[in-house]
């Protein structure tokens, strides 16, 4: 993957991304300072999804501080995540790291009898000192089963960005899933419960068999998987999970992601198609919801149409968002940044981007900010660290972290999604300061 040397003075366009239509996309591959969160951040929404799970980061004070800062306000007396902070004694080998971990886990589980699944989350320091959390998880599982199962995955910044933490967490759950030969549809990726209910209702109305979700709402309600399982990804960052499920015999449904009315329609139709339902049979059943969604988006389209959009790499949602904002809201795409490009998972999205869209993979933040300044976009989608500085330079911004916390998928949320991008622009119109 090392295509452009970090010391290169300027990024250079490399070979165009392969796509169905004729016009190539421009792909910039960049290396340099990456202004992104690490995978530990995913804990913030994963722990809410599974209220009987605890996420224990094995790492440093930095890890604890990061998760705390990303989580924002501390509304929980005792959150269902924490950090086993490595100290000098652990590093110097004065204390056996495994004994220490056993002690901390015992202490934790004694405090929290309601926990059924404990995730040991690897961090940069634990990876660098090669602390074997997989073996530790096995040992601890033996000790605490049947009450608590212990699973491990890595959320370290040297291996994962932001949403990849969820990918690794779900991939770690795949070996635990029961085997089944039954026909089933597995929705993969965390969405708000309410959104998931809406979409599952649609699938039931279409008569699709056995709809399950990963992650489940209770960590012990593990969905079955087997050769007759079709995987439908709800989130675009689940490469490792998709591969692990494929290894269990399940088949991946090629689809865009359920953002916006068109994305949601194509996503549902792809799933229905995988079970032999013709688009002509599905379409009429979705029509009412589609009309509602279009109407809701139309309210904000006026604000967004023709406005120039620059997306910095952050949550991995950038490409589907760009597709929605271009296709349904009429925004002009100046640059679509993504932490990494998984061509397989993005294929259906890339096809729908307009010709000659610039996609940048990876980041050299200072050079990218120079491009932002030169492009003078109407709206920049970026992380929290950059938002106020860009606003101070006169640019409107949308924080990308909100996109992983808010209900944005499906027909009923399409208008809300558009509103998130219209709000910074509307606000600028209102203010006279």
């Amino acid at each position: 993957m090392a295509l452009t040397q970090q010391s290169d003075a300027a990024p250079r366009p490399s070979s165009p991304a392969s796509r169905g239509c004729a016009q190539p996309l421009t792909l910039l591959r960049e290396r340099g300072q990456r202004e992104v969160f690490c995978g530990l951040t995913s804990i913030v929404w994963l722990h809410r999804r599974m209220p009987d799970a605890f996420f224990l980061v094995v790492g440093s004070r930095t890890c604890a501080h990061l998760v705390q800062s990303a989580a924002g306000v501390m509304i929980f007396a005792e959150p269902r995540f924490g950090t086993a902070i490595l100290g000098e004694r652990d590093l110097a080998g004065l204390a056996d790291a495994n004994d220490e971990l056993d002690r901390v886990v015992d202490q934790l589980l004694a405090r929290r009898p309601e926990i059924r699944t404990l995730f040991l989350v690897g961090s940069c320091p634990s990876e660098v000192i090669k602390l074997d959390l997989a073996t530790a998880a096995q040992r601890l599982s033996q000790r605490h089963l049947p009450r608590v199962r212990v699973v491990s995955y890595s959320g370290s910044g040297i291996e994962t960005t932001f949403t990849q933490g969820e990918d690794n967490a779900l991939a770690a759950m795949v070996p635990l899933l029961p085997h089944s030969e039954a026909r089933s549809l597995l929705l993969v990726g965390t969405m708000a419960d309410q959104v998931e209910d809406q979409l599952c209702r649609l699938f039931h109305q279409l008569g699709l068999p056995g709809v399950h979700t990963l992650p489940p709402r209770r960590s012990t309600d593990l969905p079955p998987v087997g050769p007759n399982t079709r995987i439908l990804l709800c989130q675009p960052y689940l490469s490792a999970t998709a591969r692990a499920l494929q290894a269990r015999g399940a088949q991946l449904v090629a689809a865009p992601y359920p953002l916006g009315v068109e994305g949601t329609t194509a996503w549902i139709q792809a799933a229905a198609g995988a079970f032999g339902l013709a688009a002509s049979a599905v379409q009429p059943r979705l029509e009412a919801a589609r009309q509602r969604g279009r109407k809701a988006v139309a309210r904000y389209r006026e604000q967004l149409v023709g406005r120039r959009l620059f997306l910095l790499p952050d949550s991995q949602l950038e490409i589907p968002l760009a597709r929605f904002l271009h296709q349904e809201c009429g925004m002009v795409l100046q640059e679509v940044g993504t932490p990494y490009l998984d061509r397989l998972l993005m294929a259906a999205e890339l096809e729908q981007l307009p010709a000659a869209t610039t996609i940048s993979e990876g980041q050299h933040v200072d050079r990218q900010l120079e491009r932002v300044r030169a492009a003078r976009p109407d709206l920049v989608v970026c992380g929290l660290g950059l938002a106020n500085p860009l606003e101070a330079e006169g640019m409107a911004t949308k924080w990308s972290i909100e996109l992983v916390f808010s209900p944005i998928q499906g027909y009923e949320q399409a208008g809300d999604l558009a509103e998130l991008f219209a709000r910074p622009l509307t606000r600028r119109q209102r203010l006279h300061l």
Partner: protein, 552 residues
């Protein structure tokens, strides 16, 4: 290995970032993996800074580890110096980079750059944020001033007659507590006694400013958490005297002026004159016209005025960084007439001072960075007011106890748009208002409780107590039920021992009539009393017998 849920302090390199971000012309190259860039948002979101912190991260990845991460350091250093053209460069590493031992500081020093390179060694696995800030400030000052250190035993030349005395204010920093306004207030305070402020650092200073530190006659250590090592070193190596008293509160401000006056041979009697009680000069036009007549604090009169008698003996729990905990304890007891029921700090560096102070108040200090231990101590002390950090604000909210934030760690609402110093005369005014308001709201809450049965009372009436962003669910829980506040389900900390003692219906109803802010304490006392008396079912009589037994 230590189990941590919430932390008071970040890692030491975040302390270094606070110094770099405070200053002009300083850049920090941090050897760190990509996730560590989260620290930028502390500054751009909490303090709403309009500029990115001057930090370049190498953001190495796993695939780089087999290769040349040292080369990444050099590239980052080279690019940062070219792009940002700093006057001085800090080079260091975060926890992960410490493990791979690239020694970025040494690498940068060997690059032959035309600016001073400060090699920061901040042990991430044993030290924390405030230590990191202090160490960074010290290393930076030391490397910029080392050529100005005279031979040992050299006496400092005295101030020439007729020359205005000059002082440096050391310690105010980014992400400190109200530093911006404290600097303004202390400059004003010193201006009134004819003392000029020479260098303020690190906040707003450049490396060139730091080089001017020795020109002043005296250093003022405004925030020992950040500046104590620097002030000690300047005293030792450059024979610069230092005032360590932090002017937070009326008494401390008076002490501060006296010490500055003594150190500089300046007459401060006018500044120390007691204010005229309740006098019209509090509103005199002179005060607003920038005359030499200074605005003395209204706080002493406000505290003596009859309305404040209801503050007498209010039970207060203080937990903060060392500086603000010590100051708050003194103000709470000597200047507001509260009763201190808990005093603690998360700053190990201040443990000795806080322990000594606590003994003076007849308490044992709580020195810990375990948030759950603090929550438990607050629950047990059942205070009527909590003065703490934003962590204690959350604890107090859960326990339905009024609270004011007096120290870092802070949240965005603790960086107010208005002028809100803690130091000097105006700082005392601000403190009076911020600490007393939640208590007044507490009284209002009590009235709501009293009138809850009235038909005019609208169900769901919101009190002001939790107006700061609490979810409706929380506040309805706080005032909607007759029961004393309980922690959230699943919380291991429990303020009551209800599981061992049963309450009769009437007993519980009577308990519900007790004002909410003492209800927890009454409940605990009654249950403890019942236990000693071997009473299984707590009745109305038990409640009043316990009341008679314990007094108030």
């Amino acid at each position: 290995m230590e189990l941590t849920l919430w932390t008071y302090e970040g890692p030491p390199h975040v302390g270094a970032m606070r110094i770099a971000t405070s200053m002009e012309g300083v850049h920090y190259v941090l050897h760190a993996p990509q996730g560590d860039t989260y620290a930028d948002l502390l500054f751009t979101m909490i303090e709403r800074r309009g500029k990115r912190p001057p930090v370049t991260y190498t953001t190495f990845q796993a695939r780089d580890l087999g290769g040349d991460t040292a080369e990444m350091v050099k590239t980052s250093v080279r690019e940062a110096v070219e792009r940002f053209q700093p006057q001085a460069l800090l080079v260091g590493e975060s926890c992960t980079a410490e493990l791979i031992q690239d020694q970025p500081g040494a690498l940068a020093s060997g690059m032959g750059l035309p600016i001073p390179i400060v090699n920061l060694e901040l042990p991430a696995y044993s030290k924390k944020e405030n230590w990191g800030a202090a160490e960074t400030f010290y290393q930076l000052v030391r490397s910029l001033l080392k050529d100005q250190v005279p031979p040992p035993g050299t006496a400092r030349p005295g101030r020439a007659p007729g020359v205005r005395p000059k002082v440096n204010l050391l310690g105010p920093s980014a992400l400190g507590f109200r530093c911006r306004d404290d600097v303004t207030e202390v400059c004003r305070l010193l201006g009134e006694i004819g003392v000029q402020v020479s260098v303020v650092a690190p906040l707003g200073a450049s490396p060139a400013d730091l080089r001017r530190i020795p020109e002043a006659d005296l250093n003022i250590c405004l925030y020992p958490e950040v500046a104590k090592p620097v002030c000690d070193w300047l005293q030792r190596q450059l024979a610069m005297p230092c005032v360590y008293t932090v002017p937070i509160g009326i008494g401390a401000t008076r002490d501060f002026l006296q010490e500055v006056g003594a150190a500089l041979d300046v007459d401060v009697t006018m500044a120390l004159r007691p204010e005229v009680v309740g006098a019209s000069d509090l509103w005199s036009p002179q005060l607003h016209g920038g005359s030499t007549e200074r605005a003395r604090s209204r706080m002493p009169w406000y505290s003596r005025s009859v309305d404040s008698t209801y503050l007498t003996g209010k039970r207060v729990f203080v937990f903060a960084d060392g500086t603000h905990a010590l100051a708050a304890a003194r103000i709470a007891t000597a200047e507001l007439g509260f009763e201190l029921v808990g005093l603690g700090t998360y700053s190990r560096e201040s443990a000795k001072l806080v322990r000594a102070a606590a003994r003076g108040y007849g308490l044992e200090a709580l020195v810990t960075d375990d948030y759950l231990a603090v929550e438990q101590a607050i629950g047990e002390a059942a205070p009527e007011l909590v003065l703490g950090t934003q962590m204690e604000r959350h604890i107090a909210k859960r326990l339905s106890i009024p609270c004011a934030v007096i120290s870092t760690p802070i949240h965005v609402q603790d960086v107010p748009a208005r002028y809100g110093p803690q130091m000097g005369w105006e700082g005392a005014n601000v403190i009076f208002d911020t600490w007393v308001h939640p208590l007044m709201m507490g009284l209002e809450e009590h009235l709501i409780g009293m009138f809850r049965e009235d038909f005019e009372f609208v169900d769901g009436h919101q009190s002001h107590l939790h107006a700061g962003g609490a979810k409706p669910m929380d506040s309805s829980k706080a005032e909607g039920s007759q029961d004393p506040p309980e922690p959230e389900p699943g919380a291991a900390v429990s303020v009551s021992t209800a599981k061992t003692r049963r309450w009769s219906q009437e007993g519980l109803a009577e308990l519900g009539k007790v004002p909410f802010f003492v209800r927890g304490k009454v409940r605990r006392n009654t249950e403890a009393f019942a236990q000693t008396q071997g009473i299984d079912l707590i009745t109305v009589d038990t409640l009043y017998e316990a009341k008679a037994h314990y007094g108030r």
